[in-house]
């Protein structure tokens, strides 16, 4: 039995390990100071980097998290604490369907919602597209995690005369914090690598852009553009970009986990 369990663990970890190893093998050589600090050079000129795409990805993911995390957690709270009824069932169903909508379709929705209205591609549009993708995952995991909090804990709070809204936020949600964070990180990691929803929302940009209403570079878009190009130099940079993207995601998830662990232990 133990052997079997170990074997399945190895089987699960193998693809991840293989991807990571191959990325390092292909990409690590092209990561240097210039890659991390410069914008792309025109075709034919050697050097250049993806600094604008790295920052652009962070901006887009920041916008997506700012919009998607509160909405998703809010929906999860509703489903668990107030939505044990037919209306809640409808929200659950819609949320599950939304989770299955192809990401490129969500890109089109964000295009219609934001790009057409603004008149041009933007980081905001990209953020909105990714936020829509984050909401159902966060909502359903938050719901599950809150349902795991024993009713006795809520009753203890009610018994102290703590109002229901306060109980939900300061007792129930707080008790489930680590599980909720896991859901948020899952959603974050999932959308961080998305390319399709950004194609006609953030669009990409060869230059620096600091405005959230202008076309913005993103690592995944840059990797896509470079990988399908006919230039060897760009292929190498695409590998490097993929490696940087994975490191950023792993880094962000690890940082949040670390912060939560130490935050809740010391949390007064």
């Amino acid at each position: 039995m133990t052997t079997l369990a170990v074997l399945t663990v190895v089987l699960v970890l193998l693809p991840l390990g293989a991807i990571f190893a191959y990325l390092i093998y292909k990409g690590a050589g092209s990561i240097n100071w210039a890659f991390l600090t410069q914008t792309p050079k025109p075709v034919g000129e050697p050097g250049g980097g993806m600094a604008n795409a790295i920052v652009g990805s962070m901006v887009i993911l920041g916008i997506a998290s700012l919009l998607g995390v509160p909405l998703g957690i809010g929906a999860g709270i509703y489903l668990s604490e107030f939505g044990r009824n037919r209306y809640g069932d409808i929200v659950r169903f819609v949320s599950d369907v939304l989770n299955g909508v192809p990401s490129i379709v969500i890109g089109i929705v964000a295009y219609g919602l934001v790009v057409l209205r603004q008149g041009h591609f933007s980081a905001l549009a990209g953020g909105v597209a990714l936020a829509i993708m984050m909401v159902p995952t966060i909502a359903r995991t938050t719901e599950q995690m809150l349902l795991l909090v024993p009713q006795a804990i809520r009753e203890a709070a009610y018994g102290l005369g703590i109002p229901r809204w306060r109980t939900t936020l300061s007792i129930t949600l707080r008790t489930a914090t680590s599980g909720v964070i896991t859901g948020v990180m899952l959603a974050f990691a999932r959308v961080a690598g998305e390319t399709a929803p950004l194609l006609f929302t953030a669009f990409g940009n060869q230059y620096w852009n600091w405005k959230s209403d202008q076309p913005t570079a993103a690592l995944s878009l840059q990797i896509f553009t470079y990988a399908i190009s006919p230039f060897d130099e760009w292929h190498r940079q695409a590998w490097a970009g993929a490696l940087v993207l994975i490191i950023l995601i792993v880094g962000a998830v690890a940082a949040v986990r670390f912060a939560v662990r130490h935050g809740t232990l010391a949390g007064a």
């Binding site: 018994g159 007792i171 008790t175």
Partner: protein
């Protein structure tokens, strides 16, 4: 100081099922009253009617009048206001698992907007002292979580948490049913001391416990209150045959 509780014509329902039938009862201030009876007889439902916890269950409702001191429980008082004056200790210890010992005790005040640090410190110390837990936890108030304590300590922590909001009445729903005899003894001693300041209502399965801690005892059966009298009388000379059968162990 404790206040008396008057219960008149209370009926309680779960959906269409009636769980309590026309309960009338007076609890005296600064005394302990035990409610005994077989499982499912409605004594837990009844105690949860006193602080409106019954209505937190979907489809559950209550009819009748309950007065706690000058407060009319089901008429014009909000449930949160009421519960600040009526502390509750549950069957299974339920400290807030992510909070430190200190925060557990302070939670009732803190989460109702009370922020004065110095006064909070005093309340926490006084409450833990009243619950006979201070000496065991004073060195790691902030470092240890409430869930890291032993079962008996957790239950005393829950008592301290309930006392911290300075209630007038303390409701205890089988507070010792999950504890060993030593922890049970400690909590019974505690009830003896707490009577001086609070009116105590305790639901228990353990008849010796009722005899030890309570001046008055009510016997419940199938949602009705069969007998209510001085504890001694209920156990020695019950006036109802069903009470006699129960306390002598012939059924239940």
């Amino acid at each position: 100081m404790g206040v008396g509780i008057t219960v008149e014509h209370v009926n309680a329902f779960y959906g269409k099922t009636q769980a309590l039938f026309d309960i009338n009862l007076v609890f005296q201030a600064n005394h302990a009253t035990a409610l005994i009876g077989p499982s499912g007889c409605g004594k837990s439902t009844f105690i949860r009617c006193l602080n409106r916890m019954h209505e937190t269950i979907p489809d559950a409702r209550v009819e009748g009048t309950v007065r706690i001191g000058d407060l009319s429980v089901y008429n014009g008082t909000s449930a949160t206001q009421l519960r600040r004056r009526v502390g509750m200790v549950f069957q299974k210890a339920n400290p807030f698992p992510t909070m430190s010992i200190y925060d557990n005790v302070a939670s009732g005040l803190k989460l109702n907007g009370f922020r004065n640090r110095k006064q909070l410190d005093e309340v926490v110390e006084r409450s833990l002292n009243s619950a006979a837990l201070w000496d065991e936890v004073k060195d790691h108030l902030h470092k240890k979580s409430g869930a890291s304590l032993s079962g008996g300590q957790q239950q005393r922590l829950c008592i301290a948490r309930a006392l911290a909001v300075q209630p007038e009445v303390l409701l205890m729903d089988e507070p010792c049913s999950a504890l060993d005899p030593i922890s049970t003894g400690k909590i019974e001693d505690l009830i003896f001391q707490l009577k001086e300041q609070y009116t105590i209502v305790i639901v228990t399965h353990n008849m010796q416990q009722a005899a030890r801690v309570a001046e008055f005892t009510g016997f419940f059966l199938l949602g009705k209150m069969i007998e209510f009298d001085k504890t001694e009388k209920v156990f020695r000379k019950p006036s109802d045959k069903r009470t006699e059968d129960y306390v002598t162990g012939r059924f239940g």
